[in-house]
C-alpha cells in the first residue's frame, strides 16, 4: 500500500501543471449563465483548441486516434490539475469522454476517420440524445422512432435534458428501430447531424436560472444508415458502453472544485455573524464544517481506492455508483450548511455574485442527473451486494 505518486505519475502531473501555468486563459469575466453567448462559446472553443494543439485533448484515447493512451491515474491527475488551475470547462467534453471512446470501441473505420479528429480539436461539438419525457431512469423504454426508408432512417420523437444541444454539431442519438422486440433489443444508436432538417432545439430553464440543457424535437429527420453506430437493434450495448465511459471519470476534478467551495465557506464563516457571535466560533458550525471536510477527504480516498482497483482490473464496476451517491449528497449537505451559515445573505442574488444562491439551487439537480440516487442505490444493491432486483 503506497499512496505516493509513482515517478511517472509525478512527472505527468508536473508536465501538465507547467503547461497549464502558461496556457490557461484568464477566468471568463462575463456572465456564463447566458450560456449561449457567442463570445463565451468562442472562448471555450479556443480553449479546447489550445489543449488540442498542446497534445492534451483526449489523453485517454489510443495514440493511433490522436490520444496519449493515458492510464487511469493520469486521467485522474489531468482532471484534478485542470480544476486546480481554475481552467475553463471543456466544451467538447461529451465528445472527448463519451462519444469518442464509444466510436473507437464500436465504430467503423470510416466513422473513426470522419468523426474522431474534429472531436479532439473541438471543431465539432457533441451532445447526447438519450433521455425522453417518458424514459428517464427507465431509459430502455425510450420511444423516439426510426423507420427505415431506402438508405436512410426517418426519425420522429423527442429528447429531453440534452446538455449542449443548443450549440452541438452532432448528437449521439438513441432511437427505437424495432417496436416488436423486447425493449432492450429494439434500440439503435445513430450519429445525428444537428444541422439536419426537422430538428428543433428548445432550451430548458433550470431552477438555478441557467439553461444548461434542452429539449429536442425530431420531425421526419433523415439519417443515413452509414451513421448507425454499432449494429441496428444493438444500440443498447452501445449506450451502455457510452455510459460506462462516462462513469470512468471518477470525479477528481469536481473534488478540487468542492475543496475550493468549502474553503470559501470557511473564509465566509470568519466574517459572518450567527447566533450573536462569529460563525466560525459557533460549535455547531464548526462541527458541520469539520464533517464536510472529513467527508471530502474520504471522497478523495475512495476515489484513490477505486482508481487502484480499476487500474488493475480494467473493468469499471459499481464503484462509480458509490462515488456518485457520495459526491452528489455531499454537495447538497455542503450547500445547506452554507445557507445555514450565511442566513438570508446566502439567498441574495448579488451576495458573492449570487454564487451561493446558484450553488444551492443547482445542487438539487445533483442527485437526479447522471443517474438518480435511487437508481445508483439499486445498482449498488444488485451489482455489489447481489440483492435481488426490485423490478
Amino acid at each position: 500500500m503506497d499512496l505516493n505518486l509513482t515517478p511517472n505519475e509525478q512527472q505527468f502531473r508536473d508536465e501538465f501543471r507547467a503547461w497549464l501555468a502558461t496556457n490557461t486563459p484568464p477566468e471568463w469575466a462575463g456572465d456564463t449563465n447566458a450560456g449561449d453567448r457567442a463570445d463565451y462559446l468562442k472562448y471555450l472553443r479556443d480553449w479546447q483548441r489550445k489543449l488540442y494543439e498542446g497534445g492534451w485533448a483526449g489523453i485517454s484515447w489510443p495514440q493511433q486516434y490522436g490520444g496519449r493512451g493515458a492510464a487511469l491515474m493520469e486521467q485522474a491527475i489531468f482532471q484534478e490539475e485542470l480544476a486546480r488551475a481554475n481552467a475553463p470547462p471543456l466544451i467538447g467534453t461529451i465528445g472527448l469522454s463519451l462519444v469518442g471512446p464509444t466510436i473507437i470501441a464500436m465504430g467503423t473505420e470510416e466513422q473513426k476517420e470522419r468523426y474522431l479528429a474534429p472531436i479532439l480539436s473541438g471543431e465539432e461539438i457533441w451532445c447526447q440524445g438519450f433521455s425522453e419525457p417518458n424514459a428517464g431512469s427507465d431509459l430502455a423504454s425510450l420511444g423516439t422512432k426510426a423507420i427505415r426508408d431506402g438508405d436512410d432512417f426517418i426519425v420522429n420523437g423527442q429528447k429531453i435534458w440534452t446538455s449542449f444541444a443548443q450549440l452541438a454539431d452532432w448528437c449521439l442519438l438513441l432511437v427505437r428501430t424495432d417496436t416488436t422486440a423486447p425493449k432492450h433489443k429494439g434500440i439503435t444508436c445513430l450519429l445525428l447531424d444537428m444541422r439536419s432538417d426537422g430538428i428543433s432545439v428548445r432550451p430548458l430553464r433550470q431552477m438555478s436560472g441557467d439553461s444548461g440543457f434542452n429539449e429536442m424535437f425530431f420531425s421526419n429527420v433523415r439519417v443515413p444508415i452509414s451513421q448507425v453506430l454499432g449494429k441496428v437493434n444493438q444500440g443498447w450495448t452501445t449506450a451502455l458502453t457510452a455510459l460506462m465511459n462516462e462513469r470512468a471519470n471518477l470525479g477528481t476534478g469536481i473534488q478540487v472544485v468542492f475543496k475550493r467551495s468549502l474553503e470559501a465557506l470557511i473564509a465566509r464563516a470568519h466574517t459572518v455573524e450567527r447566533n450573536a457571535g462569529r460563525a466560525s466560533e459557533d460549535p455547531v458550525v464548526r462541527q458541520k464544517l469539520a464533517q464536510a471536510y472529513l467527508e471530502l477527504e474520504i471522497m478523495r480516498l475512495n476515489t484513490n481506492r477505486a482508481l487502484t482497483s480499476l487500474s488493475k482490473t480494467g473493468v469499471p464496476g459499481p464503484e462509480g455508483s458509490i462515488q456518485k451517491v457520495f459526491w452528489s449528497e455531499w454537495n447538497q449537505r455542503l450547500q445547506q450548511t452554507a445557507q445555514e451559515i450565511l442566513g438570508p445573505y446566502g439567498q441574495l442574488s448579488d451576495f458573492d455574485r449570487g454564487s451561493w444562491q446558484y450553488a444551492f439551487l443547482r445542487a438539487r439537480g445533483n442527485t437526479i442527473e447522471a443517474g438518480t440516487s435511487e437508481i445508483q442505490r439499486n445498482i449498488i444493491a444488485e451489482r455489489v451486494l447481489g440483492l435481488p432486483k426490485s423490478y
Binding site: 470557511i266 470568519h270 464548526r286 474520504i298 440483492l387
Partner: protein, 375 residues
C-alpha cells in the same frame, strides 16, 4: 499510487480471519462476555503464538517489527470476530512504552508483551471523560525519589487482567507516565459494568501508590508527544477493528435480506431494505478508506497523520453505529433479541464510538485545524 494491500498483507489478513473463525466463534464471545474479565488465557497465548502481540514491537525485543497497516489488517479481523479481551489495551500501552520508555524499559516490557506474557493498559480518563491531554487532572506528588498517586481513573479497559497499568498523571504543567504493576500496594480496580461486555472497563483506585523515579516513563523526554503518538496508533487500530465489525454486520444483514422471505419474496427485493443495505456498504467502504489511510500515514510518519486519525475516528464512530442501527432494523424482531449475535457488535460499536474520542471530539479537533488556521 496503489491503495491495495500488498501480498504479504493480504496473506496476513487471510490467516487472521481463518484463525479467528476457528478460535473465536460467536459462542466463545458470549462465554467470555459472561466472565469477569472477558479474558481467555489460552486464546491470548494462541494469538501471541501467531506473533500478533508483537506486530509493532521491534524485532530486537522479539516482535515482528511491522507497521500500522499490518496491525490494521489484524485488528480488522479481530473486529469482525468481535474478539474480547486486552489486545487493544496492550497495543496502546506498548506503543506508549515504545515511544516514552528508555532502552531498559523497552526491553523490560516489550519483550514480554510480544511473547504474550504481559497484558497492559493505559489509565487515562477521569470523571470528566475528556480525551484531551489537558483533561488529565490527577496529580502525582513528587517526594523522596518517587511519585505518589492518590485518586481515581475511570473507564480503564482491561484493568482487571492487566499486569501493568500506565497511569497518566499531571505533575505541575507536565504529564507524567507512571507504570504501576499489578499487586502494587494501594492499587485496586473495580469493574464498571457497561453496555459492551466484551471489553471490560474498570475504575482504578490509587491510594498513595508509589512509583520510583527510575521507573517513570519518558522522564527526560516528551511524555506528551509520546502519549499523543501512542493514542494515534491505538485510535487507528480501533478504527480498523471497527471496520471489521461493520463488515460483519453488513455481510450478515445482506445474507438475511437475501433469504428472509415476506410477501412471497426475499425482503432484499424491497428498495426500502436494499437501499439501506447500499448505505451500509457506502459507510463501510468509506470507513475502510479512512482507517487504512490513517494507518498508512502513521506508518509513513506523514504530517497529515494526526488529521487522518481524527478523520477516521470521527467517521468510524458514526458509521459503525449507523451500520448497526440499519442491521438491527433490517433483521426485524430477531435483530432485537439477545439470542442473535447482532447486539454483540452493536454494543461494541457504542463502546468504540466513545473510546479515544467520539465524533464530536474529533470534529472539533479537525475544526481547529481547518477553521482556526484560516482565520
Amino acid at each position: 499510487m496503489d491503495f491495495d494491500l500488498s501480498k504479504p498483507q493480504k496473506l496476513l489478513k487471510g490467516s487472521a480471519r481463518d484463525f479467528l473463525a476457528r478460535e473465536c466463534k460467536p459462542e466463545r464471545v458470549r462465554e467470555l462476555m459472561e466472565t469477569d474479565t472477558a479474558h481467555d488465557d489460552k486464546l491470548w497465548q494462541a494469538i501471541a503464538d501467531q506473533g500478533w502481540m508483537g506486530l509493532l514491537v521491534p524485532e530486537e525485543h522479539g516482535g515482528l517489527g511491522l507497521g500500522l497497516v499490518e496491525l490494521a489488517v489484524v485488528a480488522e479481523e479481530m473486529g469482525r470476530a468481535c474478539l474480547p479481551g486486552a489486545f487493544l489495551s496492550t497495543v496502546f500501552a506498548a506503543a506508549l512504552i515504545e515511544r516514552a520508555g528508555s532502552r531498559e524499559q523497552r526491553a523490560k516490557y516489550l519483550a514480554p508483551v510480544a511473547a504474550g506474557e504481559l497484558k497492559a493498559t493505559v489509565a487515562f480518563l477521569e470523571e470528566t471523560a475528556n480525551w484531551d491531554l489537558d483533561g488529565v487532572k490527577l496529580e502525582a506528588n513528587r517526594r523522596n525519589g518517587s511519585f505518589s498517586i492518590t485518586g481515581r481513573k475511570l473507564f480503564v479497559p482491561d484493568a482487571g487482567v492487566a499486569d501493568l497499568l500506565i497511569c497518566v498523571t499531571r505533575v505541575g504543567d507536565s504529564l507524567a507516565l507512571l507504570p504501576v504493576e499489578r499487586g502494587t500496594r494501594g492499587l485496586s480496580v473495580k469493574p464498571m459494568p457497561s453496555m459492551d461486555g466484551t471489553r471490560k472497563i474498570y475504575e482504578a483506585v490509587f491510594d498513595q501508590v508509589e512509583v520510583a523515579d527510575a521507573d517513570v516513563l519518558g522522564a527526560d523526554g516528551d511524555a506528551r508527544g509520546a502519549l499523543r503518538g501512542a493514542l494515534e496508533t491505538a485510535t487507528a487500530a480501533l478504527c480498523a477493528e471497527m471496520v471489521g465489525g461493520m463488515q460483519w454486520v453488513l455481510d450478515t444483514t445482506v445474507e438475511f435480506a437475501k433469504t428472509r422471505q415476506q410477501f412471497g419474496r426475499p425482503i432484499g427485493a424491497f428498495q426500502a431494505v436494499s437501499h439501506q443495505c447500499a448505505d451500509m456498504l457506502l459507510m463501510t467502504e468509506s470507513a475502510r478508506s479512512a482507517a487504512y489511510y490513517a494507518a498508512w500515514t502513521l506508518t509513513e510518519d506523514a504530517p497529515e497523520a494526526s488529521g487522518a486519525v481524527s478523520i477516521a475516528k470521527a467517521y468510524c464512530s458514526d458509521a459503525y453505529r449507523e451500520v448497526g442501527n440499519r442491521g438491527v432494523q433490517i433483521h426485524g424482531g430477531i435483530g432485537f433479541t439477545w439470542e442473535h449475535d447482532l447486539h454483540l457488535y452493536y454494543k461494541r460499536s457504542k463502546a468504540s464510538e466513545v473510546m479515544f474520542g467520539d465524533a464530536t471530539f474529533h470534529r472539533e479537533r479537525i475544526a481547529r485545524f481547518i477553521v482556526d488556521s484560516a482565520a
